[in-house]
Amino acid sequence: MRLPMRLPERWSNAPTAIVAIVGLLLLAGIGIIAQNEAAYRDLQAQETRVQADILAASVTAALDFGDAQAAQEAVDAIRVNRQVRTVGVYDGAGNLIAGYGRDGDNPPPRSNRPQAFGSNAVSSIVPVLSAGDRIGAVLLAVDPEPLSRRLTRYLVIGLLVVMAALVILVLGLAQNALRRFNRELEARAAALVQANAELKVQIGERTKAEDQLRQAHKLQALGQLTGGIAHDFNNLLTVIQGSADMLRRPGLADAKRVRFAEAIVQASARAAALTGQLLAFARRQPLQPEVIDVNHLIEGMTDLLDRTLGERIVVRTRLANSVCAVEADRAQLESALLNIAVNARDAMPEGGDLGIETAPHRDPRAGAMIAIAVTDSGVGMDEETLSRAIEPFFTTKTTGKGTGLGLSQVYGFATQSGGDVRIASEPGGGTTVTLLLPCSGAAMQKGEAEEAPPFAGVRTGNILLVEDNEEVGEFAETLLTELGHRVTWAHSGKQALELARRDSFDAVFTDVVMPGMSGLELADELARLRPGLPVILTTGYSDEIAAAGAGGRPVILKPYGLDTLAAALDQALGEKA
């Protein structure tokens, strides 16, 4: 900052300097002219003297022999020069013998009488010498070169000086202008810097405001979430509590008991679906990816869709043969398609067509993909709705009819699977939701049909249960005992390791999220301690599994039922055997 401050100061004297230089230049020019003039006068005086000398020499004989006529002839010869103003030839006694005067400037009759000739004439008196004797004198007065001619000569110098002065003046002015321009530029730059700073402050404030707004949105969303979940859960809990109360009544008919138990199971299943959706929204659901033939899956879902969507909706599928397989969580994919279909149904209260298409898709970044497009002929969405469609808890449905988590789940699932969701819609023009999933290079697994083999429960063994939660642990122990296993319950990973060191078990069923040693760490330790000992993991959700996977071990998702647990244990014991 200091340099630009100093520069203008140093240059502020520039106009004075320019004036001074121009003045000096003019003075120098005048000086040169004056010197030139003086030199010219000197030269003229010298020339006059030389001319007088020549005249003196040429009249020597005439004076010697007193020949005034010859002297006059010599004088007349010199008259040819128009600059000669006065000529006088005097004899030894100082008397005028011959002479000439222009414009009345006649020579004085006696040589010893000095006289001024003209205004500027240069005069010279030289003696006439003959054989060393002074025999007379010659007076010569010469006009200087005419002023016009001298002026012409000085005009060149003057012009040069004036031009130099002009050049310096122009340069100086240009320099001045440049300086002013620079100053303006600096001022502008400074203004720009200030504006930039202001802008930065504004941006900062705006960012802060946006953060606050986002926070407010989050809180609002949290409120909606809490409300929605509370609402749905309360409904389900009402069913469960009511059914449980009814079951407690003595003397209840068997048919009724079965119905109430069924109601509890269904309500629980719906609650589990709800939490599953929440986790999907949080993108924390542990995916169980497998290689899926999407066309096959969709074909398998048409019945379900028909039933879910009702009679007024016609489901049409157009499945491309060339599409690839994807590696994804089957349940999540089904759930996503169902969510989209349900939204489509709600967009077509008067009925309509629902098209499901598959097609190969090539993404410049993700490479080969499959596009699953679900198109309805419903009311469509306006731009604002469209922009918020994926937002969690955003719903156009009335309270209780939707959680606002449907498309959010779809989006969460798609992104977690390395894909994407595209929504195209126009008010009155229907909506197309396209799910993009990356192709899988893995080989298709033994058909997709692994439809949970019916519970066999034939194998039993010595099971080490690891669970830190008392209630869940008690429940699991009960279930395992019911299935015919011998159960040892460890409350922590550390305790489980000690038990495993001491006793021999056929399988380990462990929770993943525990204080201290996690289920995955325990599984790794056990793999070193007792290789070949099967470990089954269970969790509601796990960051660790979501990030690192289960290491090929089976995972049972909470909440789990008797069948799931039995099948998993049966398979594990079978593998060990």
């Binding site: 020499a57 040429s58 020597t60 004989a61 005439a62 010697d64 022999f65 007193g66 020949d67 006529q69 010859a70 003959s130 054989a131 060393g132 004797d133």
Partner: protein
Amino acid sequence: MTAARALPAALRLLIAAALALAGAPAGAQPSEAAVKAAFIPKFARYVEWPAGAAPGPRQPFQLCMIGHDPFGAVIDQAAANEVVEGRGVVVRRLAGAEGAAGCHLAFVRGATAAGTARLLLALRGQPILTITDSRAGPQRGIIHFTVAAGRVRFFIDQAAAAERGLSISSRLLALALGVRQRRT
């Protein structure tokens, strides 16, 4: 009587004074002979003699009056006043051409025109500036006086001067009424 005698004496004095006063302007317009006499020694200033014939250092020029001398004391006076580059001019009077060797300038005038011609002939070949006067006859030396429009003028025979190894200054040539050019 004395007074009467004295008066004419005073008158004579007065007249003499008046005459003397009147004589000054008469001196400003000197006689033809005086002009010629004044000219003759001055010619030495405008003439160069060959190396052998020129007077030695501090040696005077010799002006010889050969034959008849019409000037007398006037020429002696003019010669005495003349100093040419530190050299004086002495006048020698010779009756004939014999003994003219050593002369630098010579005014030649025989008793008759034929006499003048003879004298000039005798002097031929010698490095002497010969001077003649038209009043004495038409025979011309190197410089030949004449009177034109009431003024004393002269002709110059440059060819004759060149024959004798003399070189005449152009300044003098410029004053001449006529110049006989030398053959080149």
